[in-house]
């Protein structure tokens, strides 16, 4: 088996644990979430998730671990979730065949993308969004490790977009002020 396959398999087990933590299980939900991780590995749940969803992005894994450890609130709040949705939805539409351009191809030779990330990183630093800056650093380190063939796959994936959609919908359902 390849290192990428092992990463995807274990990452999906951790994601499954984070999903368990979302259930209304009271004070024991964190403990149950950690128990769910080896259960997912052993029972085929992680294998099914991996087969269905492919390799999860490092961003999703970082946010998942963040939630499981819960040192601070995870940084995927309303505004970043909205920005991700606004970017990802047309990205997927084009990558799946809408129009002649395939933006996904850029991720196989990502030097321009890396260059474009520098002003984004400066903005994150200036806004003191250290959490996102560290996640971006983790993403690029993951790409450098050779686990991912395409830089886009490190940055986001459909499950992360689904999480972002959930954050946005919950925000509007609760009608809380913009917290981004």
């Amino acid at each position: 088996m390849s290192a990428t396959a092992l990463y995807g398999f274990v990452a999906h087990a951790i994601i499954f644990g984070a999903l368990i933590m979302l259930l209304p299980l009271g004070d024991r939900r964190r403990m149950l979430a950690f128990v769910a991780i080896p259960v997912a590995l052993a029972t085929g749940i992680a294998s099914f998730m991996h087969g269905f969803a492919g390799t999860p992005s490092l961003t999703l894994l970082a946010l998942t671990v963040w939630q499981l450890i819960a040192i601070k609130p995870a940084p995927l709040t309303y505004r970043p979730a909205l920005i991700l949705l606004a970017f990802a939805l047309p990205f997927y539409a084009m990558a799946l065949g809408l129009g002649p351009l395939d933006p996904y191809a850029l991720g196989y030779q990502p030097l321009p993308m890396l260059a474009a990330s520098l002003p984004l990183a400066a903005l994150l630093w200036w806004r003191r969004l250290d959490g996102w800056l560290l996640i971006l650093a983790l993403d690029f380190a993951g790409y450098a490790s050779g686990l991912f063939a395409n830089l886009w796959d490190v940055l986001f994936d459909p499950l992360l977009v689904l999480v972002a959609l959930t954050v946005v919908i919950r925000h509007h359902a609760r009608r809380v002020p913009n917290d981004g």
């Binding site: 099914f48 799946l96 380190a141 796959d153």
Partner: protein, 372 residues
């Protein structure tokens, strides 16, 4: 815990530097053409025989020539297309005939190697680069063929043993809908260009470029106005190539085409060929002398398997002898694979009534209309 203000940007810059160091920056691609072989004056020959049966239903053959001169074939077979027992089977042809087929990719083995659920296997593609034999094949976790992912395995001993397959990352959306049907072309930098296709929501051809060390370093869409799939590509020179594609409908269909003038960096839709295509797979081969050969079905259905030749790099086409033709419109002779071996013989493998794979071998004289 609060991090020093300087630490996140420093970590970020280190990570960017590492990613930039790893990011490929390949040279302009160029096709690698095989050396032209001296024309032979052999009398016309044509022979055809069924490959040994591996399972009740067989489909989608692919051919490769091994370094020792043996012909290798792979196809998928099982109870029926899409069944859980479908495996990719492999056999070789030497002077003693075809070897007993061996399953070289199974649903269970692929799931174990990729650590991901696999529901069914599909189209294989073989290619020998002189150092190792490559196998690409599609697998599906959920849904139909549009949900396919692409897997890759290699053999260093002519197909006797295979490395565990690796799932390639070719799509951002659940890594689905990358399929293959036709063999790759060698590139001058030691890499490969693999024709592929996408069929989730939209249907179009794609071109995957691999570096010499096997990494995907580019993906190019072969955009068309109509739904197209299953490209087969022939290089015309170092920069130019012709791709032909299955017409995804609506009927009546014609073989669609695209061209590249920059080593596969970009593909431009070209006029459809004046050749029928009943929404069925086609194969194309650049013969040793430079002529192009296409195998495909007739206008009515898959009950005719026809050949066409072009002497002018695909500008005009003329029919070559018919391989199969029956009146029964329900009969199927489909999914051809073409290969010219180093001895000049031309090999054709195709699905025969879904009951098995048939192999025909003929030479230039037969192709030019001489009678064996």
């Amino acid at each position: 815990m609060t991090l020093p203000r300087w630490l996140p940007p420093l970590l970020f810059l280190l990570a960017v530097a590492a990613a930039a160091w790893r990011a490929p920056a390949p040279a302009t691609p160029e096709f690698s053409l095989p050396p032209s072989a001296a024309p032979t004056r052999a009398p016309a020959s044509f022979a055809a025989a069924m490959l040994p049966t591996a399972a009740a239903s067989a489909h989608a053959a692919t051919l490769a020539e091994l370094p020792d001169g043996r012909l290798a074939a792979a196809w998928f077979a099982g109870t029926r297309e899409g069944a859980a027992d479908v495996a990719v089977w492999f056999a070789t042809l030497d002077a003693g005939g075809w070897s007993t087929p061996q399953a070289i990719a199974t649903r269970e083995g692929t799931a174990a190697a990729t650590l991901g659920f696999v529901r069914k296997l599909g189209n294989p593609v073989l290619y020998d680069d002189g150092k190792q034999l490559h196998l690409w094949f599609v697998s599906v976790a959920i849904g139909g063929w549009a949900g396919s992912a692409l897997n890759h395995s290699v053999s260093a001993d002519g197909g006797r043993t295979w490395a565990p397959p690796v799932r390639l990352q070719t799509s951002p959306f659940l890594n689905i809908s990358t399929l293959v049907r036709a063999p790759p072309l060698p590139l001058a930098d030691g890499g490969l260009g693999l024709p592929a296709y996408h069929e989730f929501i939209a249907k179009h051809g794609e071109w995957l470029r691999f570096s010499a060390d096997g990494q995907i370093i580019d993906k190019v869409r072969m955009a068309q106005e109509r739904r197209t799939l299953q490209p087969a590509v022939a290089a015309l020179d170092g920069r130019h190539a012709l791709a032909i594609l299955r017409d995804g409908g609506p009927a009546p269909g014609r073989i669609r085409s695209a061209t590249s003038a920059d080593g596969g960096r970009q593909w431009t839709a070209a006029d459809a060929l004046p050749l029928p295509n009943p929404n069925a797979s086609v194969a194309m081969l650049r013969l040793h002398g430079g002529r192009l050969l296409i195998a495909g079905n007739g206008a009515s259905n898959r009950n005719e398997l026809l050949l066409w030749i072009s002497d002018d790099a695909g500008k005009t086409w003329r029919p070559a002898p018919t391989v199969e033709s029956v009146a029964d419109a329900g009969a199927e002779f489909s999914y051809p694979a073409l290969l010219q071996t180093r001895d000049g013989q031309i090999h054709l493998a195709y699905t025969w009534r879904r009951q098995g794979i048939k192999h025909a071998v003929f030479n230039k004289a037969w192709l030019d209309g001489e009678t064996p």
